[in-house]
Symmetry: C2
Subunit: 236 residues, 2 copies
């Protein structure tokens, strides 16, 4: 953190670490739950437990946003909800387009938690002409050719890709050209994007493989003889 002694950061916190940003939604969720229960304040210890993190980490995270706590008491739940929401940009509306309305795309469209936090499905799009006009989650599927117009008309800056891997890069290029600058990619591909465009990926297959790695290691630790087929040991 900067060497500033002022209580309030003069400018909007420019330097929020990426790791902190990734945890803010977690805190926000826990805080929202508390808010619904009309809990007025919460200590860093309680909130940290609810969010599944270390309390020192949580306090440091909040310190990047400013000093919103009261020593001896804790944090004001409502105020913190507002501050984090604002920091994450959730006080405004984010229209989103979902491209590829297959199994996954349809599930995403039906996902309630989508709209709950400022994210609004502006359009569902698919290349399959047979799908065009069909209602999914109350919205008509639009043909991919309308993408550019929809993105512009709705000021869409976030796109979700749920097409097969083979089509993902092409869809990505079109989204970017149309003006989308944030992409959430569910297809198992590494997307190539120009500077200034953010991509985040959700990859089921990778998650499972990571779990398998640890699972194998756990299985190998117990009992197995010294010559198991559990790989890779560095001689100490």
């Amino acid at each position: 953190m900067a060497t500033s002694r002022s209580h309030r950061p003069a400018t909007r916190s420019r330097g929020i670490p990426e790791a902190t940003v990734a945890r803010l939604p977690l805190y926000l969720r826990a805080l929202t739950t508390l808010s619904e229960r009309s809990v007025p304040t919460v200590s860093s210890e309680e909130l940290a437990t609810a969010a599944g993190v270390n309390s020192a980490k949580l306090r440091k995270d909040f310190s990047y946003l400013g000093s919103y706590g009261t020593r001896g008491v804790g944090y004001d739940v409502e105020y913190l909800v507002y501050q984090i929401s604002r920091e994450l940009g959730l006080t405004q509306d984010w229209p989103v387009v979902i491209v590829g309305i297959g199994n996954l795309g349809a599930a995403l469209a039906n996902y309630g938690g989508f709209a709950s936090r400022g994210f609004r499905v502006a359009a569902l799009m698919d290349a399959d002409a047979a799908l065009a006009g069909k209602l999914v989650a109350g919205l008509p599927v639009r043909h991919i050719d309308e993408l550019e117009a929809i993105v512009e008309d709705n000021q869409v800056s976030i796109g979700v890709i749920a097409t097969p891997a083979g089509a993902a890069q092409e869809v990505c290029d079109r989204l970017v050209t149309a003006g989308v600058t944030s992409i959430l990619n569910f297809a198992p591909t590494v997307l190539q994007v120009p500077e200034g465009v953010d991509v985040r990926k959700v990859d089921l297959s990778i998650e499972l493989q990571i779990l398998a790695f640890h699972e194998q290691r756990k299985a190998g630790e117990q009992g197995q003889g010294p010559d198991g087929d559990v790989p890779a040991v560095m001689p100490a």
Copy 2:
């Protein structure tokens, strides 16, 4: 990512860093593509580009697995595919249960890439009695009461949770009690698990919020458009 694996004893286990493990599936995917094209060898530079990472990082990652490259030539694609597969534990079969066959659970069940890499759907489970017996992706939905028997009979060690958030912890507890030691959680909840159980989460909402944060920052930095520093908002 959030794995309950953060408390590693001082013992420097088999050296593979967590960050490296998380990238191995990425390399494997790129290598599999090369393999299908019958490319015999690949340099760290080429492979790194395909995987979207830095070549030095890739070489260091591979160095944890051993010295599988040939200087002046590169890496043998087939050999590397095998080594990484073995390291990740993909040379064996991993039966998986999916709990909660709603929108998302059904999409997961239909997901082809699931079975492609040693992961086999052992059972689909749901608490809704009306779903019991219904075929999803060719498999009958089983009632949640059969969970313990199915986990034991099929030696299931990996469970996928796709239930509503409110049911996730309860389902998690049952999975763990039944013997599952790795969980992939799609519900927006922080799961509490005992030592030795790995949890990875996939959280659409969090990903979107992270994108929104950066999007807001991008919009605020350069006075974009006629609306000033606050991006245009759709009228309600």
